[in-house]
Symmetry: C2
Subunit: 341 residues, 2 copies
């Protein structure tokens, strides 16, 4: 049997010699040094063991990534898979320990692109000293999958995990930076548009920034506004806590290019995904210190207080417009951009 | 916007109202009662917390499932996703605690089928009292994914995890039952064949059986022979331990229907996937007791000693044929049946 050496074949996902070779040459080298326990990813066993710190709660989160295009301004599906999952741990207040990497690839996918994607993934992990625990590789036939899908499960430890439901009346509502960058950058990069904009995804692991904030205290709730954007995340936080999220529209940091494309396409920047941002609901006593700590970090230099937790409309988000009008910001039916993450 | 109520739409995977409704009506009801910690799947937060037993090693494993067809004789992708992951924990000697469920669905997939799949998944978990920790839902467009793909990450606890590399010279090699059932049943069920056979996948969670065996002691290595079948698993175990797996061909339990279809198609039953079987490498002193314990369990009634660990050809598998010839059983390039799991 002759196999092309630079494209994925069904045998690369079939549990034999070919899969071993793909993993040995194009995946494992990226994860060389980091071990999570006695049986680690280099053992290529049925799973891995995890060494746990003696105190703290274990936190686990999972995400599949089907972003289109696979490579986009500011990152790729590898960056996104790592950052997306570490960010879910971060907003639960959990220090990331390990991540799993399960990849489904379409036959004929370029192996050079696998290398590039796995390297992007590994680079994000290295920043936060996170190990790959174990992985899985499957191949689907031509036309059975559009390119590549990656699932990651993150495992972390929190002194005490922070919920997205913990908002209390009087708390300040902070965002860690500009809103809408990822969604609008992806949209601009889609083939249908091919807009030559300066838009760039914000995809990044926010744990280094969040870690600097947690010791200050007073963080009652956190969430990363991914699919459905700020609108979905705030609505969920309002519902779960039974509070009202009172937002000042003018206080929401939005890049000019994002606002411009948003106007052009009629898509709200508040409803599209962010991949390197957090919403923090913070006790009034520590809100200023938390804001200062966020701004002190490169990822948080545009952080802002965008509102306050009230009680006028339990479970709802109310936005005050620049001219003083008030309107509900509803839970979107869904993110207007498909395959955004 | 009007949405068909019985088919998946892109908005079902877009992080808003529609996704919440899908999860509330068709997914969460199946997982009602089981909780893993303070923040569980019903919180629908960014992740979940895990209550851990005070002793033992944490074991983690991940798998994506792209089986075709989605429903097959003996199970479906839900059964397979649950059993496949619990089995990876089981062969590491780990009691399963929790599992994640990340689903990628093609637009227009029937929601009734989602219900059926999630119920199958939940049924397997219930047998072993395993909780769903958290999940994720993504939707891809028509033609971007062939139906559905499921990723699961399992988390378990082992007193001391068992490796697949632990074989020692003189150990007995056991299989817990008949070989080749899953692969040949799937092949027979494929549209290209549509063979009306009595073949049925062996998909099942083997933890209840493995649990009954472990206290006997002497289990030096375990592995579940999935993709690439018995041939791939034995070769991996031989290589990692530097031993020789000496197999008696006549001792390998194979159903008549499996052997028949295998002859017909020219595909070796030793190279196709099993989804409810384990290979156990056991110290000679306890091998008989382990065999008896396996046979005492419904899933293990066809268990057999199929050979012995030797040293004649380090890293290789040697098969003695019924007429006394000896040949190498090589590592297959890959499983001959694509999308087998």
């Amino acid at each position: 049997m002759t196999e092309s050496t630079d494209r994925i074949s069904p045998l690369h996902g079939a549990g034999g010699e070919m899969m071993e070779q793909l993993l040995a040459e194009h995946v494992m080298p990226h994860f060389a040094a980091r071990s999570v326990g006695r049986i680690d990813v280099t053992a290529m066993d049925d799973g891995a063991t995890l060494r746990l710190p003696s105190d703290g709660e274990l936190v686990v989160t999972t995400d599949s990534h089907v972003v289109k295009p696979v490579f986009f301004p500011g990152g790729d599906i590898g960056t996104l898979a790592a950052a997306g999952t570490l960010n879910d741990l971060a907003v639960m207040g959990a220090r990331p320990l390990a991540i799993t990497l399960a990849v489904i690839i379409e036959e004929d996918f370029a192996i050079a692109d696998i290398d590039r994607i796995v390297k992007s993934f590994a680079d994000v992990l290295a920043e936060s000293d996170v190990a790959v625990a174990c992985g899985d590789t499957k191949v689907m036939g031509r036309g059975e999958l559009d390119g590549i899908a990656i699932n990651t499960t993150g495992i972390g430890v929190a002194e005490r995990a922070i919920r997205d439901a913990g908002a209390e009346e009087g708390d300040a509502i902070l965002v860690s930076g500009t809103i809408g960058d990822h969604g609008m950058a992806l949209l601009a990069a889609r083939e249908a548009f091919r807009l030559d904009t300066e838009l760039c995804s914000d995809v990044a692991s926010i744990w280094p920034m969040i870690r600097s904030v947690l010791p200050i205290g007073g963080v009652h709730a956190m969430k990363d506004p991914t699919r459905g954007g700020l609108a979905a995340a705030l609505n969920e936080m309002a519902r779960k806590s039974g509070t009202t999220m009172e937002i000042e529209q003018a206080a929401i940091p939005i890049r000019e290019a994002v606002a411009g494309l948003s106007d052009l396409l009629g898509i709200s920047p508040l409803e599209v995904a962010n991949e390197g941002k957090a919403i923090l609901i913070v006790a009034p006593e520590t809100a200023e210190d938390v804001l200062a700590a966020l701004r002190n970090h490169p990822l948080g230099r545009d952080a802002a207080v965008i509102g306050r937790v009230g009680s006028s409309h339990p479970g709802r988000v109310v936005v005050t417009t620049p001219v003083g009008g008030r309107r509900f910001l509803d839970m979107p039916l869904g993110d207007p951009v498909p395959r955004i993450c």
